[in-house]
């Protein structure tokens, strides 16, 4: 239960800062503690730290602004991808901070997060919400237009069994994309089901979580796993 303690402490510190939304690197810390695989991400407070972290994480890396006041990082030009050298990382760090300052002069900037770069795979969305009648609910959908335009999502009340998880994956209309069409191999359903179960358990275990949003989650081919590339966790009021 070390994970639980770690998460409780983190939530307390977020609340202590009068915040309800976790920053990406914080959300990923919670998820990793809970056994959900995420892209590696660490906070750098200055360029030297960024370079050090980039070396540890291994090039190429992605840099993202870490500020509770910036919700849409790309809109603030706070994201730089495909950085493969020390000079590029330093430059990107400075540029991101300057861009965000210009975008929102009073933004509280904690630093810049350095994240491992993952070659894209099939994208899905996994999340939880709290329904007024039923409590924690797990959501699943395919990334991009599948969710945004076609509302092609499935739900289950948490916690869910492995059977429930597989059913919710098969239920969406876009399922053939994951099953593999035109010679493409099937996605790693085992890993995906495990992710859905874990996210559901997280929402049940911590009633203060009002929303989890993993978007996108990269689903690799069978046997190669899944990884949450971006993550948001929002705590409930009070």
């Amino acid at each position: 239960m070390a994970a639980k303690k770690e998460i409780i402490e983190l939530f307390a510190s977020i609340r202590g800062q009068n915040r309800r939304e976790l920053l990406e690197f914080e959300a990923k810390k919670v998820l990793s503690a809970w056994g959900v695989k995420t892209t590696r991400i660490e906070l750098a407070r200055d360029t030297n730290e960024a370079v050090k972290l980039a070396r540890e994480i291994k090039y190429p890396v992605v840099l993202k602004i870490a500020s509770p006041d910036i919700i849409h990082k790309s809109d603030a030009r706070g994201v730089k991808v495909g950085l493969s050298s020390e000079i590029e990382v330093k430059q990107a760090f400075e540029e991101i901070v300057a861009n965000v300052r210009a975008y929102k002069p009073d933004a509280n900037i904690l630093g810049v997060a350095v994240q491992e770069f993952i070659p894209p795979a099939r994208e899905v969305i996994v999340g939880t919400l709290r329904d007024p009648s039923f409590g924690p609910v797990v959501m699943f959908g395919l990334g991009g237009i599948w969710v945004e335009v076609l509302k092609d999502v499935s739900f289950r009340l948490a916690p869910i069994t492995k059977e429930d998880a597989l059913e919710m994956v098969q239920e969406i209309r876009g399922y053939p994309v994951l099953a593999g069409t035109r010679g493409a191999p099937p996605a790693d359903f085992e890993a995906l089901a495990d992710l859905l179960q874990r996210v559901g358990e997280l929402a049940v275990e911590f009633p203060e979580i009002s929303e989890i949003d993993l978007n996108p989650v990269f689903v690799f081919d069978e046997g190669k796993g899944v990884v949450a590339a971006d993550a948001r966790i929002i705590l409930g009021e009070g």
Partner: protein
């Protein structure tokens, strides 16, 4: 012109009443301590005697009269004792004073308006009733009185539960809608909404669908759907539980109760009023509760009738038997839409058919030809049900320009009951449908007027087959 929209008075012998000698319901043994909360639910359906309390001089709600019609229903259908208390003192044979009926009834139907109800809820408790149906909507004040009564050990249904409770076995008809007494059968209905409940009962009466018990829950200050589902899951006369809900009050408790019940008998849920994401969450909750979701009253009864009368379907393969090709195609389409499959008939079936009816080509749908009579239907159905490649059968009986008589369709039910596979009937059209439907209504095969409805019923039997398999029963 307006008068054309006025309700016609109901023709007198409109509904079939089970004609049986009045029989007193068994007295519940007296006990020392108060009954447990679960047991007390029984008093809503099998009370020792019933008390109807109202005031004939004043309506409980400006547009609605509850008292007189409820008294009429009870006197007309109930085979136990009905005591009537009329605070206005006008109804013949009624008492004027609640104190005079002390200890005489277990169930009270409260139809008083807000004002007099304020004083009399307490008197009901003093009169030692165990259960109260609060028919009108009631505002604060009476609601608090009802809650106080609950604290003193009385169970309360409603308020806003004017459709009350109904039990076809003892004729209990604690409802204000006149004459809604369906025949005895295996379907129990729980309805939050009075008018949806009335529509379901009306439809069951009209179509001759058998009901075990009915209950409307209204605003549920005490007795809720989950508790009633638990009770009905233990009721030996109930084979299927139907639940019509407007809002789920305590979501998890509801899901748990449905799930517990669904492990014993099928549960069908009608839930409206939700769209988009919310609707999908309800879909998920109902699925996880192992229940079957329907979208309207007709589908509810169609599905429930099949679940009450027919065995479960243990595979996806459906055979169609018909004396008309067009309807068979429509049924085949519906089978694909519902995710079922057309069965492939075995060599053995083909041989048996070729031997007896060489003119019929043995492919699915099996077309018997326009001249097919009862004998041919019976023989074919027998072969098809014995075929191990068939899990369920749709039998279409077209009457127009054919020698087939409505009563010939009875052979379908006679053969079907020899096998443990589901059979549903389709008789399309208007009058023709009614003719076949009536010929079969007291038998075990349900008959539908559309391909879609018949296949939907079969799909529900398949779904419940999967549910039972999943829970290992």
């Amino acid at each position: 012109m307006l008068r054309f929209f006025r309700r016609k008075p109901a023709p007198k012998p409109k509904r079939r009443r089970v004609v049986k000698k009045p029989r007193k319901p068994k007295a519940t043994p007296r006990r020392r301590g108060p009954p447990s909360r679960g047991e007390a639910i029984g008093a809503f359906f099998e009370p020792r005697a019933v008390l109807v309390v109202g005031a004939s001089g004043i309506r409980a709600e400006p547009t609605q009269e509850f008292f007189r019609p409820t008294v009429e229903n009870m006197l007309r259908f109930y085979r136990g004792k009905t005591h009537v208390v009329d605070l206005s003192g006008r109804l013949e044979g009624a008492s004027r004073d609640l104190r005079k009926v002390r200890g005489k009834a277990e169930l009270a139907i409260l139809t008083l308006p807000q004002g007099p109800a304020l004083k009399n809820v307490k008197r009901l408790v003093d009169a030692r009733v165990r259960a109260v149906i609060a028919a009108p909507r009631y505002e604060q004040g009476v609601r608090e009185e009802l809650e106080a009564a609950v604290k003193r050990g009385v169970r309360v249904l409603g308020p806003n539960a004017a459709m009350g409770t109904l039990n076809t076995r003892n004729g209990l008809c604690a409802s204000f809608e006149r004459g809604l007494m369906p025949k005895q059968g295996g379907i129990a209905i729980i309805s939050q909404s009075n008018s949806v409940g009335a529509a379901i009962l009306d439809s069951a009466c009209f179509r001759g669908i058998g009901v075990s018990k009915f209950v409307s829950t209204g605003d549920a200050v005490d007795v809720n759907e989950a508790e009633l589902i638990d009770y009905l899951s233990r009721d030996v006369n109930t084979r299927v539980i139907c639940v019509g809900i407007r809002e789920v009050r305590e979501g998890r408790g509801f899901v748990e109760a449905v799930r517990r019940a669904a492990e014993k008998k099928p549960v069908v849920v009608l839930k409206g009023g939700v769209v988009g994401e919310q609707d999908k969450i309800y879909d998920a909750a109902i699925k996880q509760a192992l229940a079957i979701r329907v979208r309207d009253v007709e589908e509810l009864l169609g599905v429930a009738e099949a679940l009450a009368k027919q065995p479960l379907m243990l595979g996806d393969r459906v055979a169609i038997i018909s004396n008309a090709s067009g309807p068979a195609i429509l049924v085949a389409d519906a089978i694909h839409r519902e995710g079922l499959i057309l069965a492939k008939l075995s060599e053995k079936t083909a041989k048996a058919m070729a031997h007896k009816y060489p003119g019929i080509s043995v492919v699915n749908p099996l077309e018997l030809g326009v001249g097919a009579e009862a004998k041919c239907y019976g023989f074919t159905l027998e072969q098809v049900l014995a075929d191990p490649g068939v899990d369920g059968v749709v039998v279409i009986t077209a009457l127009k320009s054919r020698p087939l008589e409505p009563d010939d369709a009875r052979v379908v039910a006679e053969v079907a009951k020899k096998f443990k596979k589901p059979v549903v009937g389709v008789a399309m059209g208007g009058e023709d449908h009614i003719l076949v439907h009536d010929a079969l209504k007291d038998m075990s095969v349900p008959v539908y007027d559309l391909a879609e409805k018949a296949v939907c019923a079969l799909k529900a039997l398949r779904r419940y087959g999967q549910i039972r398999w999943r829970v290992g029963g």
